[in-house]
Symmetry: C2
Subunit: 412 residues, 2 copies
Amino acid sequence: MAQKRNIIVGQSGGPTSVINSSLAGVYKTAKERGFDKVYGMLHGVQGLLDEKYVDLSTQIHTNMDIEVLKRTPSAFLGSCRYKLPEIHENPEIYEKIFQILDNLDIEAFIYIGGNDSMDTIKKLSDYAIVKGHSQKFLGVPKTIDNDLALTDHTPGYGSAAKYIATSTKEIIRDALGLSYNKENITIMEIMGRNAGWLTAATALAKTEECEGPDLIYLPEITFDIDKFLTTVQNIMKKKQNVVIAVSEGIKLADGRYVCELSGGADYVDAFGHKQLQGTATYLANFLGSQIGCKTRAVEFSTLQRCASHMASRTDINEAFMVGGAAVKAADEGDTGKMVVIDRVSDDPYQSSAGIYDVHRIANNEKLVPREWVNKDGNNMTEDFINYVKPLIQGDFQPFMVNGLPEHLVLNM
Amino acid sequence: MAQKRNIIVGQSGGPTSVINSSLAGVYKTAKERGFDKVYGMLHGVQGLLDEKYVDLSTQIHTNMDIEVLKRTPSAFLGSCRYKLPEIHENPEIYEKIFQILDNLDIEAFIYIGGNDSMDTIKKLSDYAIVKGHSQKFLGVPKTIDNDLALTDHTPGYGSAAKYIATSTKEIIRDALGLSYNKENITIMEIMGRNAGWLTAATALAKTEECEGPDLIYLPEITFDIDKFLTTVQNIMKKKQNVVIAVSEGIKLADGRYVCELSGGADYVDAFGHKQLQGTATYLANFLGSQIGCKTRAVEFSTLQRCASHMASRTDINEAFMVGGAAVKAADEGDTGKMVVIDRVSDDPYQSSAGIYDVHRIANNEKLVPREWVNKDGNNMTEDFINYVKPLIQGDFQPFMVNGLPEHLVLNM
């Protein structure tokens, strides 16, 4: 009897609209390349350590299921925020993982995630090489934050950018349609702890028939609250309705987050990241008290990472592509690598899957380049627009059942 | 030379996703019925008093423009929150309005709005009758809140319900996909000061593949925070992820809004309504401190009233229908009336335009019937689902230009 050729795939970190399209790409390509079983870790490595996994052929029966999966937000398999210890700190955990992989005849281990997940791939592939295990470890990028190095952009970013830009256009219409002869300030709070890619995407709302946000503040640029007030006051000499986009992670010169001024940021997650919320509310109250006009805060919150109903076709297709490319790379003997997206051309936009050593990637955050922000540090340049515009192109309509998008869910 | 037959239309109150579909219905029907000019008040009666209006033929040139207008959120003409004084308090304002209408050869005055706007129609039609003016005054219902009496439902509600239900499904997927072995509570805050129709729509997320929100709290039911805590604790004995929907307007037995507990509700609008915000954040902090698990608050905020990209086809078509029906009624001599939507049948769903005397409508808020809420007062019954489900059916895809929905905007 021939050796079993099985593969296992997991999802980790914050969900996106297209993380399941990568899962679909892994599954379909693994089947096409002759893998026997495709296992899914439930809740990533953390669930795997409890031997929680599923044979995906019990979940995905038809090509239609694959199409529904592509349109399902959040991690189909469940996610985790689990950081592997350093190998020397706790070799037992590594032994346990490899025991489980051996028991399941796993040949390739694919992990779909962000910076922290690539750290997992790095450690597991290092351990395998040192200990002489044959499994291949490949990373598939995923994050709405677009903060991974070496890839032109990350799967998940394009769809989040499309949702954010669409909602920004709608909010600007809403603001302009409001009361007569009354000043009105809208502050939109967008995700982004250190990297402002998502907030920058609000600039896409500037189109032929929409003037876009008046001001855009990214965490990459130190936030000066006095200058902010003066800038808004100057704009209000010319117009009544002002729409402003801010990253949740904007910081003052002394290093404090703006949201900390109102007592936010008190929850710290497993990776030591502060949870940020309340930046827009704080600034809306501040401007309201200083200027004396009506202000409102709109937090895009969780919706921006799970709004599959506004996914970008480019993004869905690229997410599928990188999932498949990881399987192909593992099948061809690569390990300790992450698949990336290379931009082949801008117009027409074309991309292809590349591959990088994960040691070059892990834990490096890619920030928005300073030259893509205007001189005043409060709006985006044309170069940024040219970068991001291709990523939101094309629609990927949900399958509607009784008026609502249909999702594929685990059936245990 | 024959007498000019002109018509004027205005939009008032909070915008919706489909208020412009009613405007399109007014415009198209007025043209079809031989009106000469169709004027649009800019920012409703308040702008009209400053003689701000536009000839809509300078804005709408083609049938394509009408289709884009139907897909444009917020008030195309601009809205206002202006309450006409009682006639005896300030007859000069009424004289001024009728002088402007006479100058423009206006035969019919159509006002698209909610409760407060129907009050405007009532006063103007009363004044016209008393003073012997020939103009006809017709109201077209509009509000995401669905709180108008006598109409089966209001245009704008179906699209907001569809957006809310879609986002709820996506947020539930997001919640379930999160961390492993960790309790997690998500509280969604939905608009609705006194009427819980929008919050109730989260119940639509309960479908074959989604269990829907665990708890739903409407402003119609007195909120008991101790009972709330016990109920959540009981649910958490059985499941780790709890998703809860609350109306911004839920109130304690002593009459205070829940959001007032955290110092919210300090802004009061022109109609004396408190602005409510912070209910979900307050409850998330409360549960977090009591239960000791991770909680998050998601405010749907402005997005729920302007998300044209998730409009219901039923809603868009009905909004268009009631706009047209108002023109027809005025043309046939009706005045002081509001067009309503009558439900003709449930399955297949059919509706038609009816008409009611506006004196029977104005300032009566229609609340969610107690029997459509379960015995415990924390979820919806099947009867409610049967009522709301037809209203979210059918899609009305935006016209996408460069990856984003296209809108029609005023060109002055």
